[in-house]
Symmetry: C2
Subunit: 434 residues, 2 copies
């Protein structure tokens, strides 16, 4: 690229109308110096060929993505992605590692999820010349962009109102076994967990509408038992039905589930598509919940892919009320910083959109409540144990009770070990961990 | 995991009914020996907790994913993903690197794309204990699974029939500039390229239905000019209109485009969602074309993510007729082997599904035809240049002509340099490359 062309993809922030631009932050490793490497990226992700042959025109002033800031991290890094640098077939003995802030004129594609993803994670970004590693770290959206998105219909407050629970984290539980267990015993253990104090009995992300356990039958059985559990306990309950399915089945399955008494539905976000969820949001009568499968390869490496919180913001925009995401658990390969960043992206101001409940997942139990409460600094989160409820030696009722006892200990400012002296369910829960 | 539990996730291939299973091949790096590491993966991706407390039951025989083969690559590897191994917080001084073949009972989730992705790329797979790196290398589908998928409506033969071209690769061209250029001049340069010999004038993957260039206006202008170009040249032509948009707009935009004279539509596969494409396929009247954006982080690393050909098979199953994918170009970070593997996944037998046309992309020109023809060993492919057609010094007509001349040289068995002596367009195309 000649210096004049490089210049066309750089700008001073104050010269740009911030309501017309998304602010993208990328981590980049490039084989050329950062000013040129980031210009390559901008060229590929926006105007590429900016004039016709023999025509005096230049579409870059209005339509080009523009670098406004570069933060050099290293000018003599070994590439994290040595393999990719080698694949590019160019000589290098070091690479430049840096963060680039890029203004992207969203009028190029409009307020649409698929087209946004093409722009910020497309061929241009992941296949730019001389750029061997890319990670999209964050997107900031101007209010004019966000205004088109409905966001959560219920949000944290709406969920609390449904449950009548205002003073503690919300307790989700994944009914297990899930794969193979027929609807009758499946609903029975969900019922037991509600009786023990669970707020939300949920389907596993793997359990959809299948021949051996249809959404229709599960929602009928659990819808009925939910109301029974509400009568017995005097507490409100939620059955979260996983309706993840082909896009043209989603609205129908939602209607079946809700008519039968499911009062929340789960749609695995990445596998079904965020745009399909945006469609469902326009129609939905109950809270929408997302689960994080098909996301691992994007989010797990610090120098490649997309940082979780970008997906978190998008999922809040398309209308999820609850986000289940990788939490504190070595198996889930998320750092404490990631867990916090995602919670903030759920709860912090995002235009006029309601907050979405963060539910960091991962082999949780009664003891996870204090850990997460301290980490996140709020009660506005959920936990979503499986085995700790449904594998508890006293059964799902005992398992759910152990969660409530775990929170009671936090509330009273005593250790769970101390609290467990008079609480058998919690005592056994602690023993399960050792 | 105790040895009995490890055993429950292994099986001899011949004991399993192959019509009930998908065959998954993964590359894995694990902190424990392969037999246990692969069992961890299978447990997480299928039955997890396989019995209720106090109930004598075991859902693994019917519902567990089962390892049938392990190919050890190294038992003293340094983890490719050292960062992830460290994140898992366990001690290790080496890892096991191996390929595992796993039989997955698809009755667990049914013949559905979102649920398939959850099973094979879900939390279970990318967040299994002691598994630090995962790459899904391939899926084989039994005919009983494939029978539910429509696959390409037109396929390679149908496209050839539309164009009346049977003896050479198909010539696509991305109309450029795309971002910013208004529909009138945009359609004029597409028209010029058809006159020069282009088969398919296409929208860029970034150019959707936007305020400054609506699908309606583009398809009206290019639909009309397509018919004019057909009259003038005596050849059939295709206008490929990019209708990538929110899922609930796809069918409407398809109808608008087709009514106006677009005779193929592009939907960016990963950003819109494969399931949405499967929905559109049931309704579509024209060939469907995919583009590879939002796929980079999955496909680029040899030890992580998903190999392209898995996505290629899925896209053929949901009904794409043409696949545009990363081709031979350092910028695109694809090896020659990848380019070939994808072409084979497009063209090889896959149940009763029609072949899908492979279009390896990337800064192509007249000289790319011979290179790809030799690499792929077939004329059943397309190329999709942008600049070589629309940045050609003689204009798009000259650029398109240079492609036809490039193929004529191959057909006559002479070098393009030799052929260029009497063909000015090709001569200038060669000069553009130096």
């Amino acid at each position: 690229m000649n210096p004049e062309d490089v210049k066309a993809f750089h700008a001073k922030r104050e010269t740009l109308d911030s309501e017309k631009y998304l602010v993208l932050k990328y981590y980049l490793e490039t084989l050329v110096e950062p000013r040129e490497g980031s210009a390559h990226l901008c060229q590929e992700m926006s105007t590429a060929q900016w004039h016709r042959v023999g025509v005096d025109e230049d579409y870059r002033p209005e339509f080009a993505a523009k670098v406004v800031d570069i933060e050099l991290l290293s000018d003599h890094a070994q590439p994290s992605s040595k393999y990719l640098a080698d694949l590019m077939g160019k000589k290098y003995d070091k690479v430049y590692a840096f963060n680039a802030t890029i203004y992207y004129p969203y009028g190029n594609f409009g307020k649409k999820i698929p087209n946004l993803l093409t722009a910020v994670c497309g061929e241009g970004v992941f296949h730019a010349p001389d750029v061997c590693a890319v990670r999209l770290l964050d997107i900031e959206f101007p209010d004019s962009f966000l205004a088109d998105f409905q966001g959560p219909q219920f949000g944290v407050q709406g969920l609390r109102d449904m449950l009548g629970v205002y003073d503690r984290p919300l307790l989700f539980g994944v009914i297990k076994p899930n794969v193979g267990l027929s609807p009758e015993p499946f609903s029975e253990i969900g019922f037991q967990a509600w009786l023990g104090g669970l707020d939300v009995a949920k389907d596993d992300e793997q359990l959809g509408d299948v021949s051996w356990s249809s959404v229709d039958e599960r929602s009928r059985r659990l819808g009925k038992l939910r109301k029974e559990a509400e009568k017995i306990t005097g507490e409100k309950k939620i059955y979260l039905n996983n309706i993840t399915d082909e896009v043209d089945n989603l609205l129908r399955l939602h209607d079946v589930a809700v008519a039968n008494g499911a009062n929340a539905v789960m749609i695995n976000g990445m596998t079904t598509g965020f745009s399909a969820v945006r469609m469902l949001r326009k129609h939905a009568k109950v809270p929408l919940v997302s689960h994080f499968d098909f996301m691992g390869p994007y989010i797990q490496l610090p120098w490649f892919g997309v940082k979780d919180k970008v997906f978190t913001k998008l999922q809040r925009m398309v209308g999820y009320d609850v986000l289940i995401y990788p939490g504190v658990d070595s198996r889930l390969k998320a750092s404490h910083e990631d867990v916090m960043d995602n919670a903030k992206a759920c709860l912090d101001k995002l235009g006029n959109l309601k907050p979405m409940l963060p539910v960091p997942a991962g082999s949780q139990w009664a003891g996870s409540l204090e850990e997460l409460y301290k980490l996140l600094g709020t009660i506005d989160f959920g936990i979503v144990p499986g085995r700790a409820v449904f594998g508890h030696p006293m059964g799902p009722k005992g398992g759910a009770a152990s969660l409530r006892q775990g929170w009671d200990a936090v509330k009273q400012g005593v250790s769970i070990e101390e609290y467990a002296r008079d609480h058998q369910e919690l005592k056994l829960a602690i023993e399960m961990q050792s």
